[in-house]
Symmetry: D2
Subunit: 289 residues, 4 copies
Amino acid sequence: MNYNTNNTSVRLLISCHDQPGIVSAVSTFLHQYKANIVQSDQYSTDPSGGMFFMRVEFEMLDPDFDITMIRTAFTEIGLSFEMDWRMELASRKKKMAIFVSKEDHCLLELLWRWRAGEIDVDIPLVISNHPDLKEQVESYGIPFFHIPVSKATKQQAEQEAIQKLHEHNIDFIVLARYMQILSSDFVGTFPKRIINIHHSFLPAFIGANPYAKAFERGVKLIGATAHYVTDDLDEGPIIEQDVLRVNHRYTTEQLRVAGRNVERIALAKAVTWHINDQIIVHGNKTVVF
Amino acid sequence: MNYNTNNTSVRLLISCHDQPGIVSAVSTFLHQYKANIVQSDQYSTDPSGGMFFMRVEFEMLDPDFDITMIRTAFTEIGLSFEMDWRMELASRKKKMAIFVSKEDHCLLELLWRWRAGEIDVDIPLVISNHPDLKEQVESYGIPFFHIPVSKATKQQAEQEAIQKLHEHNIDFIVLARYMQILSSDFVGTFPKRIINIHHSFLPAFIGANPYAKAFERGVKLIGATAHYVTDDLDEGPIIEQDVLRVNHRYTTEQLRVAGRNVERIALAKAVTWHINDQIIVHGNKTVVF
Amino acid sequence: MNYNTNNTSVRLLISCHDQPGIVSAVSTFLHQYKANIVQSDQYSTDPSGGMFFMRVEFEMLDPDFDITMIRTAFTEIGLSFEMDWRMELASRKKKMAIFVSKEDHCLLELLWRWRAGEIDVDIPLVISNHPDLKEQVESYGIPFFHIPVSKATKQQAEQEAIQKLHEHNIDFIVLARYMQILSSDFVGTFPKRIINIHHSFLPAFIGANPYAKAFERGVKLIGATAHYVTDDLDEGPIIEQDVLRVNHRYTTEQLRVAGRNVERIALAKAVTWHINDQIIVHGNKTVVF
Amino acid sequence: MNYNTNNTSVRLLISCHDQPGIVSAVSTFLHQYKANIVQSDQYSTDPSGGMFFMRVEFEMLDPDFDITMIRTAFTEIGLSFEMDWRMELASRKKKMAIFVSKEDHCLLELLWRWRAGEIDVDIPLVISNHPDLKEQVESYGIPFFHIPVSKATKQQAEQEAIQKLHEHNIDFIVLARYMQILSSDFVGTFPKRIINIHHSFLPAFIGANPYAKAFERGVKLIGATAHYVTDDLDEGPIIEQDVLRVNHRYTTEQLRVAGRNVERIALAKAVTWHINDQIIVHGNKTVVF
């Protein structure tokens, strides 16, 4: 969790090859630039020469600090360690678009947490391939765009969506039970920036109708998986998973109803972590700090 | 749970097509034969004409009751409803064989619960394809048989095991991390009477090295599945599943170590339910009462 | 779970002293009256002479059955076993009143499940001691009554509430984070029919500010408890409890935010079970079938 | 978890008032002394001037490093920030004493994990106020001392125990269901170095017979709490808690049996964290990194 959203709060995320002196260089840099480290997490895949990941949260002591200047100054360290890095102002609200179809539970969970102040984000628009949830979305004061999708119009629909997303300077997209498979083009436009909720415990029950498959297999737990979307269906980096105990009495429909609770909780966690810059994607995995 | 192991305690398990009057017929029969119903569970797959499953636990009021006579008397009801049924004395201890390879955690969990009186069963023997655990098993006063298995000797080794199992009148077998795939012949000799612990959340990561696969996939939960063994590898009826939260810091080896706890707990539950006649297998699923 | 809400679906709940022949008498009665038992649960506190509890769900084969006639007919059995019993039509929707103060998470969870059809109930009104949630409640088409409470007006406010509840023939009341302690008079008017959500794992942290107390004590799990309200504050029969893992990083405020999720899930379960007639209260405990 | 037990692996634990420059000073020091930071965790109670806690795990690049020299060198930093700190060689095995009475489940869990290499510790002795578990302990090659305790002999028995503990240079003590209350003197001799497992979810059911109390209260979850022992009974800093779902069917005895599993898992986790120097005690709370 992260509630340090002062105007002076900054997050630094780093991926690079492991090597001596990284933490020292970073913390000394921050000390020089009058930053107080509030939290620092790191992870090495293999202490004897693997990858190194780090997330530092710091407070600038000078409220009139210039983030651009600090970023520029940090470039040197970034280059010397060949880092992949970014520095984010906690006070800058990300812009999140929500894609939804007909089922409302994941959407409403996000909207409700957003209104309660639990999710600190801007939601400039919701896009749906169905008109059903228009009224509900608009009751939250959020514009709703109905972009129908058929086999014939899919490419055009995606272009229309992309245009809307660009118009609103969207930072990332949440598929809150959006029942369309996005094209490679679309996914490539927002790399590591589309979060999906899959209604099973991946990699079990990949693809359509996981609850029907879970019923057939007679599982004793059902799950949900929030993951970043890549070209491979349901194979993107997993952010969060959760399960729920069920038994032989559950019909497919009852599995579906029970599963909604795991879906919305898992998705809300993943979205919160993404917003708080707590996730680093490496290959097909996530490091969640 | 079931701790009614008085000498007068009996369990009746029934599967049949759903139809009116079953509960009435059964409970009236029991009342006539001076039995007090202590617990009764039932489940219908579909009230409008599917399968019906029932488990009744009852106490005979006459301590000198004759179970054979009661079984014979019940045959008529069984026939009239075309039931698949069995009536078990709670006081008759089942005979359980344990198969193990080198890893001891599942074995020791069972032996410890057995000695603590949590698992009410006889253990006439432990069979292993390795000699490593001989001393530990024998310290519990249980005979240990080392039956090595190679590709060439597999059939012969299984025959030797079957002979030992028959000699000891074994009721059911627990594969407590036994790292050999049993032949169809072996499995067919003990239908619905072999319990295996698979070290993943089935149907995810079927087959060998599930922890390595879980590491590769970057899952956030690992699991274990206790199931009856059938001819299809890791596809038999699931009895119990459990999971454990992990994160990016876990190496394959650490997943393996952490997973042991889920494995032994899930297996111990499945074994307990089997011993207490709480499981009815129907097709590829279990009803656990 | 229970989704058998056909017009022919009936639930029978029984409490009495344990004695032979109860199940037989009940099931034979149902068979005679052309009812098919769909599910049956029972529990004996002590097989050798304690209390006996039973819940039977049955379908009447004749769609034009007369529930009053069946209730009358069952009276004889009830008397002979000195039963405390009731027979409920699954198709009769209960009328639920919700009491709320300013926090909306429990309220919205219930309203959302109600609109999604997960909670099969009528909600004729919401009562609050604050006006804040008026608009939200009314957007669901449910009347909202603001009845302010001060020390001076408490008795009068409760009388006003009772009158409203009687006017709407309310069956039971849910305190969805209603931050007022109800008087003995009020509680006595709705015995075993008021469900409260307490924001801790009772009996830990009884009374006000449980999250502050949990923070002080440095607990590693926080919980919520749904219970029936009695005269003893936070001492009524527990229906459901759940917990959530936390750590040293959580402030009191963050415990509060995290706790909301446990509260709403635990309360929603308790309400669902009450609606489905799955709960029998005995002394200060509940039997949940 | 922590498996970095190379001979070059060191852990540094720090508590002090929060102030700018700590991380920078520490990491620069480590870099100068040719140490590679493998993991680093920190926590500030309040970024604007509370307490600061840090745990750093580092590898010395020179295998012939001198820990005494490094400790001496670090003293200056420790003084300048007024730190409470310690630096531990991961390769130095701690010496753990186990106290037990008659119940063996927590004891065996620890012994088993110790033999399996999951708990990297020396166990020079087990002390018990009963002789029952002597044979089991000795089968692990560990000396067992029976020190009976009565009201009259309590002080003398504790002195005898303390002498044995000193003789064996014990680092910390685990009360694995030791059913005696230790005196202030004893506790004061091993401050923050005695770990107890309490068989309830503290602060619920403080004191004796928690399962009987849980039964009386009709709780739906039972728990266990591992904590450091202080003078206040069951009020010491909590290290770990866990719970298990139960229902109305559980008798007090069945709660006790079920509870064993939560007890041993929670205790094993707490012991592992203590061994790996992952716990910092601050006031009546723990920071677990």
